[in-house]
Amino acid sequence: MEGQINRLERMIVVVARLLKDGQTVAAGTLSPIPAAACFLAKETSAPGLLPLIYGDPDNRLTEGLFELFGLAQQGRIEVFFLSAGQIDGQANLNLTVIGDYLRPQVRFPGGAGSSMLYALAGRTILFATTHSRKILVPRVDFVTAAGTDGGEKIPWRRGFADCLVTPLALFRFDEGEKRLILESLLPGATWEEVAENTGFPLGRKREEVSRLPDATEEELAILRGKIRRKLKSIYPVFCRNLWGGDEL
């Protein structure tokens, strides 16, 4: 069974289990894993979840992102999701540029509302769809959205990163130490694999790291059935790449 589960499916299940019943959670653009995780959680462990998924035809906001930002300012977004081109151990996110700002090697589309939402959401679950030293770096080239209030530039924020989920591992953000610390391995992943592909210190010894239970048959059946059908209208390319074909 284990060999048949895709690593992204495992990620979705791990993120879904992080969500608690009754929470208001929101995901912005280019966030198929959080979207799938929210829908899965609502069908399994958190039926009272209120997901605000960008692009979801079944749960629109009258004024779209404008309204979402207003809700975040009021403190009503309990959990938000973010990813980035580069993420460092202090949970800083780079959505702006790789290399020198004026002579970039890669120019990303930009931060959109990430900085503001990172600061105003109750907590933020970070995700990366590939686990590599290219993405998980010692220090981001550009801080688009700050992981901590270390500098004097941010006068106030409501919440911080909660954790970082990759196809291999779950890192917890320690607010005291202000850094990401390896907590668990996803099924199928090894400590060596994580150490080899992470550009910042893991913060835990091999024997201190737990292993997350695998997706259950029930979770997989719901994910590959009802959730896949729903997600297809929002993220058709993601669904095709993960599950192939158009037959449903």
């Binding site: 208001t24 209120l50 605000l52 079944d58 749960n59 629109r60 906001l61 009258t62 309204e67 207003g70 809700l71 009503r76």
Partner: protein
Amino acid sequence: MKTLRDPYGGGEYVVVPPLRPDVAVIHGRRGDREGGVVVLGGRTDRLLALAAKRTIAQVEELVAPKRLRPYQDEVYIAPIHIDAVVVAPGGAHPTACPGKYDLDDGHLQEYLASAQDPDSFDRYVKRCITGPENHEAYLKEVGRGDLWKARSIGWRG
């Protein structure tokens, strides 16, 4: 009233704190089981729902989510702003739910007349507010039992 200096353009302005009602009660044309509601546009129902700590929406009919799309003269209010949906066809009576039913002028005149003196007002309250055992009974009492029948066109899911 307090004043603040505009940090961008200078100048002194009077500022007031935002109003935060504990509860807002609004009337919508349609609602669904997720808590989404469609109200008539050009009014302040959505603003009320956004400002209040809790919002109760009474609606003319409960519909499938697909039928919740607002038409040109309507405004959609997302479930996050709504705490409860009450199916109450004719629930705006004796005022209007434009497009569904008009203001009941005869009833309002009767109310105004009865409000002239405490005894007749008490009789009005007993007949129309505390007397009827439910909303359906109220509508029948005021001669608008036809509005209750509209419930049968709603969606049962």
